[in-house]
Symmetry: D3
Subunit: 337 residues, 6 copies
Amino acid sequence: MKKIVTLGEIMLRLSTHVGERLSQADQLSMHYGGAEANVGVSLSQFGFDVYFVSKVPNNALGKAVERHLLSNGVHIDYLVKGGERLGTYYLETGIGERSAAVTYDRKFSSFSHLTVEELDLEAILSEAEVFHMSGITLALSPNLRELALLAMKKAKELGVKTSFDFNYRASLWSQEEASLAIKPLLPYTDICFCGDLDAIYLLGIQQADDVLSKTEKLTYYYHEIQKRYPNIQFMSSTFRTVLSASDNKLQGNHYTGGTLYQSKEHHISQIVDRVGGGDAFASGVLYGIVEQLPPGQLISFATAASALKHTVHGDANAFSAEEVLKFAGTSAGEIVR
Amino acid sequence: MKKIVTLGEIMLRLSTHVGERLSQADQLSMHYGGAEANVGVSLSQFGFDVYFVSKVPNNALGKAVERHLLSNGVHIDYLVKGGERLGTYYLETGIGERSAAVTYDRKFSSFSHLTVEELDLEAILSEAEVFHMSGITLALSPNLRELALLAMKKAKELGVKTSFDFNYRASLWSQEEASLAIKPLLPYTDICFCGDLDAIYLLGIQQADDVLSKTEKLTYYYHEIQKRYPNIQFMSSTFRTVLSASDNKLQGNHYTGGTLYQSKEHHISQIVDRVGGGDAFASGVLYGIVEQLPPGQLISFATAASALKHTVHGDANAFSAEEVLKFAGTSAGEIVR
Amino acid sequence: MKKIVTLGEIMLRLSTHVGERLSQADQLSMHYGGAEANVGVSLSQFGFDVYFVSKVPNNALGKAVERHLLSNGVHIDYLVKGGERLGTYYLETGIGERSAAVTYDRKFSSFSHLTVEELDLEAILSEAEVFHMSGITLALSPNLRELALLAMKKAKELGVKTSFDFNYRASLWSQEEASLAIKPLLPYTDICFCGDLDAIYLLGIQQADDVLSKTEKLTYYYHEIQKRYPNIQFMSSTFRTVLSASDNKLQGNHYTGGTLYQSKEHHISQIVDRVGGGDAFASGVLYGIVEQLPPGQLISFATAASALKHTVHGDANAFSAEEVLKFAGTSAGEIVR
Amino acid sequence: MKKIVTLGEIMLRLSTHVGERLSQADQLSMHYGGAEANVGVSLSQFGFDVYFVSKVPNNALGKAVERHLLSNGVHIDYLVKGGERLGTYYLETGIGERSAAVTYDRKFSSFSHLTVEELDLEAILSEAEVFHMSGITLALSPNLRELALLAMKKAKELGVKTSFDFNYRASLWSQEEASLAIKPLLPYTDICFCGDLDAIYLLGIQQADDVLSKTEKLTYYYHEIQKRYPNIQFMSSTFRTVLSASDNKLQGNHYTGGTLYQSKEHHISQIVDRVGGGDAFASGVLYGIVEQLPPGQLISFATAASALKHTVHGDANAFSAEEVLKFAGTSAGEIVR
Amino acid sequence: MKKIVTLGEIMLRLSTHVGERLSQADQLSMHYGGAEANVGVSLSQFGFDVYFVSKVPNNALGKAVERHLLSNGVHIDYLVKGGERLGTYYLETGIGERSAAVTYDRKFSSFSHLTVEELDLEAILSEAEVFHMSGITLALSPNLRELALLAMKKAKELGVKTSFDFNYRASLWSQEEASLAIKPLLPYTDICFCGDLDAIYLLGIQQADDVLSKTEKLTYYYHEIQKRYPNIQFMSSTFRTVLSASDNKLQGNHYTGGTLYQSKEHHISQIVDRVGGGDAFASGVLYGIVEQLPPGQLISFATAASALKHTVHGDANAFSAEEVLKFAGTSAGEIVR
Amino acid sequence: MKKIVTLGEIMLRLSTHVGERLSQADQLSMHYGGAEANVGVSLSQFGFDVYFVSKVPNNALGKAVERHLLSNGVHIDYLVKGGERLGTYYLETGIGERSAAVTYDRKFSSFSHLTVEELDLEAILSEAEVFHMSGITLALSPNLRELALLAMKKAKELGVKTSFDFNYRASLWSQEEASLAIKPLLPYTDICFCGDLDAIYLLGIQQADDVLSKTEKLTYYYHEIQKRYPNIQFMSSTFRTVLSASDNKLQGNHYTGGTLYQSKEHHISQIVDRVGGGDAFASGVLYGIVEQLPPGQLISFATAASALKHTVHGDANAFSAEEVLKFAGTSAGEIVR
């Protein structure tokens, strides 16, 4: 099995049941997830040998994180134990016109205090196919920014493909801060998940001409990014049309070799859980790159993986590569007897 | 904080879970509500000092009503304790093409036996901004009809704005009975919630010309009502298009100064709980009147409040004025992180 | 009350909650059902005196089957007790684009070992109005094929109307096997549930001209079937358009006296449970035939019965004939107070 | 199968979950039961042909009562439909030192308005082995007192064994009222369920000497009752020691032919649901009488049936005669594999 | 109504269901509580006008705290909004031999940053009967220690009775730290909750002679404390014998006027939720002092209140004074119909 | 980490909620377990590198078994996929006097068809510390009996300690069959779990003198067994006193070097789930043997592990060695804050 490494924060998500406000709830559902952990879990479901690198407290919640990862076949050899607390957030589930609302309680987390000294990057990254991380990690602390840069460089040095997802969150930092932190990593990035807003606000690329279509604009942005960072071989993102909190349209984009490939547009109605939809997409793209799928098949697979994620509770994709392939190729909604 | 008084019945609602028939159910969800109680709860969420006037039995269910009101910040100083029982109804929740079905068990309730002697209307209404009640109260007993008329007169006497919601329920009384009971109150009414069917069948106004649009017809009816009752300064109602039990369209109407103002049409899909949607609307209108919102803003706020109500379990709006304003102004369905 | 007899397997269905994968579930919902049991339950709700003939193990699950049937008023006089086990299947509930998935565990069931000797067909069928069974029974064992043929012949001999639902399941047998087993029964069949694929692949009828509409094609197939089996007086089926696992369109077809009658197309959104939708339809058709409804009313009733089934959990229709009639005639989705 | 008839009220019980107060609850469990209905259900589980005579409203709750009875194999031929409402009560489940608390909402029930004219007593009682009713029915209305007396007389006339359970409830009537209503029935009673308090306070028998043991006292009371009503062939009751709401001791007493027979004392810990424990005992006694068990076996069976009832949710015994016999004869608590 | 003021931290408690480990749980129950908040809620149930002083974040969880307090009739006028987060802890519920286990996540809480400047102690305490706080507050931050001392002094100055509960928690601070922080408050304390371990380890009183009984020892410690702090008029504590996590014995002690009064020993089996048992006891003592119950009655009431608390979920007593009185005087476990 | 291998069947357990009969249930809880799988899970929690050898179907339930094992850190390298079905059983949970009842549906399982050819015993067992299996496996099929003998021999050949648990189940086979199958394995057994009944009925040892105590008798039987099989170094069992289904006493016995060591007697009240209690005990014994604990400590640890198991849902111990040690050494039932 091929080795994959992802590094990032994993948090406890506490969600209300549909139709309940957090301020009135008396029961919460628990899930564990984070951008890079979710990518790791999906890739493990797809058949890779995944190692997730992070730090969690040495208590029952840290143990719960271990169980979550193990049950999905993810290796926890590099899950450091220690620090104060597990990052936590409360999700008031949205429905129909009403958006989901997040109440964050993630400060002072064990992961935010993780330092380079606690990890043996050489051992972690050696013989890996892909190393994946996201911009969220950079937002959490200066030591993590330092760690991230070292990890990306070490990965390149060891011949590991590097993958970086911008994952910009306005609640965590300003565009200026993000721009300063992200740019140094891009020269070491092979695979990049970013969209038009990232191009404009974080990379300072001039806005595309308004007469262009959404697809043409994205192609323009990807061209511009590649001019600046010719080392980036793959760029991907999705177009999401939010009809309501329960009803979205989703189309995947994948840019490689100067060409943009697009999936069909999925109509995702009756959304069960949208959290992790983007991570499922990223996992699908990484699967396609490692398995060397043709770009058209790759983006079809990745978007299908993301669409499937929306139909299950929890942050991470719970489908095998075979299931995603079958789903990508069939019409939806029949009982399979 | 401004004082608001609402008077009416509050009942125990026992609802089946989605997809279960009442005759087969083995679990029921409990909610407490009633038209005027719901208006009171919403207005308390909006920041007013609300007093709810009613009568409930002196047992654990009466205590539960108290807790429900208190948890929403509603004052229970004028909640009389006594009588036989709490009015109850069973709701078989509808979904898709299948409508919800109500099994009433509300006869012989404590509230239906409430008399004028049990209340000190002078104290209750003094210094209030608004007094609100609905036609349901009139339908329940002769003593309540007497109480209602006295309360409306006392409110006018004390300079309190009076609000009356027709709320006609065919299961409670005939149109003739309703017409006889409602008309005496209208000369004392400042704010009125009624629609086209009320105008025709309860007030005897001639049907509008069929070539008119729905909006034009409503404007005509409101003109005609105002001719008869020039004291009524505000009239409001909603246009609800029922696509299915789970999928409605809702537009708000507000008539004042001879002009009809309309909100945008909300598309309320994946309805969680429709009960109390009208009361949430009424609360929004009353908020707008007390806070002197311009009529266009008022009706946008009120309709948004009603749309939000459909996304939560329970009879009453659980959103602050700030949350309603934000919802009214944003596109729906994104995760707010 | 009129006597109806249905014969077939009844199984335990274990379903995941919405949004859960079977491989991750820790709770399952239990329902009991099977094509002919479901038809029996519906017809009992419609007011007939229904006898269900089957075999279940003599343990707590067999007892549970008895309770399920009794609670719906179905007679269990001919429910044989014995054998190894109750046929079981696991349903991973579908939603949105993701189809439901069935994991079967039905082999070695008590019913599959039922033999002619265990039943007194004369007593079972005497004075019945209708005897109903389906192709699933034929697929389960040679002894059941023998039993089925004897039962159909005995029914005809006793003047009982016979009803046969093709109910072809590719997971149980090949088209060739099915064709061989079904054809001998058709000369004894009065009422037949089958569609275009059955006509082509099981009865070997030449495919209709592609320029024909869906409705014209079905008419053609029913004509052809009636040429071969002039004894068949009624043929029925539905057109189901699967927009998603949660959102279907459904139209009923009923052919009698050389004419095809069609219901309106129901839009079934927010599907609660699709299992048994076809059986509810069959029950509606049989109700109409026994009650001698005009064909147009019959197919409207039957399709409404099927649409209603989709709004409740469990395999069987839980609605009375009056409720179906009312539903068939009203617009959907209002609260009935 | 032997025919048994029971007559009485059946109510909806709405129970809180353990550890919740009714005033704070948001979910309730539903059960249907009543003294005579519970006896009917138990006797049906024991293999008799049971007819339950009562009146319930013609709505979804009335339908639910039907389903409850049918699922337990009880015949509903004499279940009259009509009237205002189903008697209801709320049970705040007790635990440990805290007793359960009942909030009644049973007034104005359909059953309380049942009249002689609505029943064909001749048909109902003919060919029955046993007719059973309780003092609760007498407490509910004058018409029911009249009906009860006629039914008892008719039963005797038809050679049916009559069974009467005092079942005195202080919340329903005074001892004087009960005494006046019950005495006229006793000359027509063959089997009687009553205890020492009934003897003293309802039948006016002089209190036993304090030096006597509990058992000797009961023997004395039964002697005295039999002197007054020599027609009574069997008298039964239980000694219940309440260690806590979750932990009781229970011993059964059965008096016949001048001798008192006693069961062993069951230690019922971890009580799941005590409601209906007395009815399960009465059912066991009636089973023993009809099946002509020796008195020692009879009282062992009846007390075991009652003990088993405490281990399941719901008002009625859910165990077959075989299961009760096995339980009566084994030590408790092993896993039966 | 008499005014009571309590000051302290209120936290979110997230509990596993019985029989689940936190590391394996996927659902948690939510409760809000803290020593002084619990005392406030109980006293509000007992009929006092309670003000709870604290600080919670200005988010949905802060709103939830408000709703919790309001539903119990507690005033939130002095509940400051702001700061980083709500103190949180996870409770793995114990059962039988296995103890409950707490995972704390309470650092950096809004309350721990509360300062004197944010409160108007004069307004808060004026006209109060009692001011109550506990040692937990002292453990949380230096600013809270300062605030506590000022509040106690201000209370004395305004003629308010002061109440202090040692509530020592080894997980929060050392005995040395606690001793240093607590001693300065005692000269301003009228009512004190402390036990033998507090006397020895926090106040440095010499250990009692081992030949003394448990009760004699406690009397000795209370004598010694009173010698040092003659201003303390009342001292109380409980003797708890832990038979298992589900089964405790509890006896209350109350010392006043040089005499120790004791309640009967309650046997609390089938414990539902032990959290807050001590706070319920303290509430009962304060109720008795304010209502001037004789000491024997007082300690019987307080211990009964604590025993009742163990039978309900949640941190706070949910019983009225009448219910506690009735419970204190009856044998346990009967159904109250 | 030390390698441990266990081989056996793992089944799906479907359990009713407490107080529900299987025949009336509509929800079931899912757990996966089997004697040897449970031992494997426990030993993995204790820190060993555990491999579980078995065969499960290649479907969603097989996948669920994998997730169960992985989440507990058990390796699935030797979990063969294929065959018809997963062995299943239904557990009607017992409480108080009522025993749990099992409805088996385990015939035709994938595991029962496992053959020697599907496993590479050499690879599986090499470098293992312990190989553990039980008599259940022998009962399932001749091929498994063959496999078991080969595995035991291979283990001995490779220097692996062998462990055999008699685990006799009367529902699976007769004592004669068991005796014939078990005896050939004993010459290859180092560690043996068996009790007095096994000695008498399966090994034909003469019954001990009745004047001996329970402990003396067991010592006698272990002496006799060791005479016949001097290779057996360790024998263990428990004395379980069943007070009720919810309340047991448990004492552990461990025989080595001619001496019997006993743990204290645990009083296990409020039992959550007894299934797997014996396997937890066996795991504790194996832990002690591998870690070379003194026999007294070993039996204390093993019995504590078993007692803890009774407090959690699911078949397997969910506690680390540290948690078991702490539990073994503390009094029970305090909240650990």
